[in-house]
């Protein structure tokens, strides 16, 4: 008996996958013929972006080579576009007079790129981004010296096209109609971060930009004119505004067509002998342009063609962007909606934004930017409709945190930031009270305002603002006091003014600060950039993205540079406690990487000295594997928490000083501060942990905890002063976090706690931490900030973040030429 004849119209991903699925189920059933319009074998269209970027070649992305067709006895007519289907006679006719009869027909005609009907759309150099020919045209254009490209369309494809062209050495600008890139997959926050990340890769973006006309010279494209009158010059114009199901053939054959070729759950069209799959299809009112649903369709189709069970019931979509170094994932109801709850996590330092949408106690969608490692996990939870109520607290931190760190308290109350109308945060004085007092009581100097209203009487950071209010109210009658010391030679503003205006004017980026404060240099200097970077992090922990180029090398590579250009590595030992596993892991690392020196530090930790920079990620990976994280021994941030053994062992111990030290360190690690912060916790007044020369020290006594601040034991030697005494361990933690937060908000960059204390006065600090409400608010702001920064920078880099920092640009000149 002759085999049934199966014809596939379309040699793309869907057509060939459908054939594979049929062969998998019933290899001998059909005599198969594939007709394709493109003159080549079947390749992975999804991977055209890496081909354009030069990261892959065409050979890399071929899915089925000629041998596959041969081995499976499939007849391939490549380069033969099908022109008509005679459903009566069951004959397909293609270019060149080819006619083939069928018993079953699969339509896999895919989609066509949409070409905007702009004037000039037919100029040379205007291309779409759909097939290998398009890629070849783009590569050719990029070979011209100084060539520029404009890509219309800020969706997945447009962004990948622009990135690929930049990788090819072109200048590329993405022009997008909407204000948010990839708005069908990303919300505004992630879209903003994406635009920012692309800028870092050299891809410019023009958002909310309406294209009006493609300008040409001598028949070639020369630029894109926008509605706002600007013209973006370019030699290549790529239209990547979307795809449209290719249904012309089906329509002509009289099949039922809506937006796409309409199919049922078995992928059958209105003609039972004809099925359809892929981007040409409309299923339950939905057209798909992503690969995952197409694979599911192919399974259902093959089941129908081989009389096995299977139906397609629509797909939940997820998307990943293929731009190296930019991690983006989106799935489901990423933007939330009615009845949905949002859990949002931002890590400004890492440029991470995560939003998980919960509906009825289940994950309904997610958008991840900067760290998409957990995308698959969320997607799984979503498809399984898993109940997530009991993992809700840690859900946003990902699978590892949820499954591996159960019991660690990740949640911390979120506090609203201070009211804008409030001028003096310390004493709660608003603008009206100050100006009112100036007028009513005839005040004319800052000191008088301080005395009457208490504004600027504590930390002094609002002094410039109070002076401005005086100036405003009195006009020439006010004489300013001598100005503060400028931050550096790039500006005449002092630290206090810079900090105040960052908050008051919502300045959220380095260029914004430099613009608003009229910096005299284009991008600052090695003094002001780290300071401004810190102030921005402190003011906008959830939004500002840490600028690694404004970090001193130690904070950029999370290790301490030594005199010979090698680095030292200090893992955290919580409260100075360690164990045999950690010590064994450290010993192994020392042997494996031939680390020349191992030293015990004054902060109760172990320092590995002389590590080569390129070895750092591997060293960290091994330390991470043993459960150790960065000790931040290099940071203007929390360093050690030194403890004595307290009531655990000591016959004099009054409290669990080790336990408190560990708790403090586990809560506060990763926090950035104006200068380094070292803590000590002693279990009794004998003070074996030397807490009274630390930035913040605790002396445990029978009745509670004395909290001391402002010690130093370096260049400057100074004992602490007693700040306050509290009764419980909880209060000790609240108070220490509160005083740290006050310091973070008021301290000037590189100003240690003792200097800050001398400037603002111990009384002003004490007033803040002894007022339960102020203390609570400070603590809450600290805890909020920790949501973004209590993350191991080593693990991030082991995972590949900033990998270019740890590898040479090129090794091609390492040896003498032969």
């Amino acid at each position: 008996m002759a085999k049934e004849r199966l014809i596939v119209v379309g040699n793309g991903m869907a057509g060939c996958r459908a054939v594979q699925e049929v062969l998998k189920r019933d290899p001998g059933r059909y005599e198969i013929t594939i007709l394709g319009a493109e003159p080549r074998v079947n390749y992975d269209r999804i991977m055209l972006s890496p081909v354009l970027a030069g990261e892959k070649t065409f050979a890399d992305i071929v899915i089925n080579d000629e041998a596959w067709y041969r081995d499976n006895a499939i007849t391939l007519h490549a380069g033969r576009a099908v022109q008509a289907i005679d459903r009566q006679a069951r004959i397909v006719s293609a270019e060149g007079g080819l006619e083939v009869g069928y018993d079953r027909l699969i339509m896999a005609t895919g989609s066509d790129p949409i070409r905007l009907p702009l004037p000039g759309g037919d100029l040379q150099g205007v291309v779409t981004f759909r097939d290998l020919d398009d890629v070849e045209a783009m590569v050719a254009a990029s070979a011209q010296t100084g060539a520029r490209a404009v890509v219309i369309g800020g969706g997945l494809l447009g962004i990948e096209a622009a990135y690929g062209l930049v990788r090819r050495g072109m200048a590329a600008t993405v022009v997008h109609l909407v204000d948010v890139l990839m708005e069908r997959q990303l919300d505004a926050s992630a879209g903003f971060l994406l635009a920012d990340a692309l800028a870092g890769k050299g891809v410019a973006t023009e958002l909310g930009a309406v294209s009006e006309e493609i300008v040409g010279v001598d028949g070639r494209v020369a630029g894109l004119k926008l509605k706002d009158g600007r013209t973006l010059p370019c030699e290549l114009l790529v239209m990547a505004v979307g795809i449209r199901p290719n249904t012309s053939l089906a329509k002509a054959a009289g099949l039922e067509v809506g937006r796409g070729l309409i199919v049922d759950d078995q992928m059958r069209t209105s003609d039972p002998r004809i099925s359809a799959v892929g981007e040409c299809v409309e299923h339950r009112g939905q057209c798909y342009g992503l690969v995952a649903p197409i694979w599911e369709m192919c399974k259902a189709l093959a089941a129908g063609l081989t009389d096995t069970a299977g139906a397609y019931e629509g797909s939940v979509l997820s998307t990943r962007l293929k731009v190296s170094g930019v991690d983006v994932f989106s799935a489901g109801k990423f933007a939330g909606g009615e009845g949905c709850e949002d859990i949002v996590f931002r890590d400004a330092g890492r440029g991470v934004y995560k939003r998980v949408v919960i509906e009825d106690g289940k994950v309904a969608g997610a958008v991840l930017f900067g760290d998409a490692a957990d995308g698959a996990w969320y997607f799984d939870l979503m498809r399984q409709s898993a109940e997530v109520a009991d993992i809700r607290e840690t859900l946003i931190f990902g699978q590892t945190a949820t499954e591996g760190l159960r019991g660690l308290d990740p949640s911390a109350a979120v506090a609203a930031l201070a009211d804008d109308a409030e001028v003096c945060g310390c004493n709660g004085v608003c603008k009206g009270a100050i100006t009112g007092a100036i007028v009513a009581q005839g005040l004319s100097t800052l000191d008088e305002v301080k005395a009457v209203t208490k504004a600027s009487a504590s930390c002094g950071s609002c002094t410039p603002l109070v002076e401005k209010l005086l100036m405003l109210t009195l006009g020439d009658g006010f004489k300013a006091q001598t100005g503060p010391k400028p931050v550096c030679g790039c500006t005449h503003h002092g630290h206090a003014e810079a900090r105040r205006r960052i908050v008051a004017e919502s300045l959220k980026s380095m260029p914004a600060v430099m613009q608003a404060l009229e910096w005299s240099t284009p991008d600052g200097c090695a003094s002001c950039r780290p300071a401004l970077n810190y102030y921005l992090i402190c003011a906008w922990p959830g939004e500002y993205r840490d600028d690694k180029q404004s970090r001193f090398i130690n904070e950029r590579v999370h290790a301490n540079i030594q005199k010979d250009g090698t680095y030292s590595v200090v893992p955290r030992m919580w409260g100075g406690m360690t164990n045999s596993d950690e010590l064994r892991a450290i010993a192994d690392v020392v042997d494996k990487f031939k680390i020349p020196s191992v030293k015990v530090t004054g902060g109760q930790r172990i320092d590995l000295l002389g590590v080569q920079k390129d070895d750092l990620p591997a060293v960290w990976a091994d330390l991470n594997a043993a459960g150790m994280v960065s000790g931040h021994a290099y940071a203007k941030g929390l360093r050690t928490v030194k403890t004595c053994v307290g009531t655990d062992w000591c016959r004099f111990g009054t409290q669990d000083s080790t336990g408190l030290g560990v708790r403090l360190e586990k809560f506060m690690w990763g926090s950035w501060t104006p200068a380094k912060v070292k803590l000590g916790v002693s279990g009794c007044p004998r003070n074996c942990a030397e807490a009274t020369c630390k930035d913040i020290g605790v002396i445990c006594v029978d009745s509670g905890y004395e909290i001391h601040v402002g010690g130093a034991a370096g260049l400057h030697i100074q004992g602490t002063e007693l700040l306050t005494k509290v009764a419980t361990e909880e209060e000790a933690i609240w108070t220490i976090c509160a005083v740290t937060q006050a310091y973070r908000e008021e301290g000037w960059y590189l100003e240690r706690i003792y200097k800050w204390m001398a400037r603002v006065g111990l009384d002003s600090i004490r007033a803040q931490v002894e007022d339960p409400q102020v203390r609570r608010a400070l603590y809450d702001r600290f805890a909020y900030s920790q949501r973004f920064f209590r993350i191991d920078p080593w693990a991030e880099r082991v995972a590949g973040r900033h990998s270019d920092e740890f590898t040479p640009l090129s090794r091609r000149m390492e040896f003498e030429p032969a």
């Binding site: 010296t145 930049v166 284009p522 991008d523 970090r551 001193f552 590579v557 250009g565 040479p808 090129s810």
Partner: protein
């Protein structure tokens, strides 16, 4: 007409300009020690021997501002165009300039 002069410098393609972040630097190891290639905020690139004239600090690890880099070891500021220290340390030696060309977005480092 000019006689055909053979380029005395051997050029090596060491990567794309965009492989170096703005206000960043990357290293290229050579038999004579590392070369530092800098990319400034305004997109220009410079190459110097990766050793500060002061104590040999790796300039590639410094903070880049304007057309200068601040050495990570003792904060000397070095002019990227000349390799010479700026400000108070002017005249105290220099980090040798290494030939660098940009062709079609690629960096070519010279071996003289």
């Amino acid at each position: 007409m000019n006689a055909l002069v053979k380029d005395p410098i051997a050029w090596t393609d060491v990567g794309a300009v965009t492989d170096i972040p703005l206000r960043g630097a990357r290293r290229v190891p050579t038999p004579g020690g590392n070369v530092a290639i800098f990319r400034t905020g305004d997109g220009l690139v410079f190459a110097l021997k990766d050793a500060c004239p002061h104590k040999g600090g790796p300039l590639s690890q410094g903070i880049i501002h304007g057309h200068a880099v601040t050495c990570p070891l003792h904060a000397w500021s070095i002019d990227l165009a000349t390799g010479e220290p700026m400000g108070a340390d002017r005249g105290k030696g220099c980090a040798p300039v290494v030939p660098l060309e940009v062709r079609e977005g690629r960096l070519f480092l010279g071996r003289t």
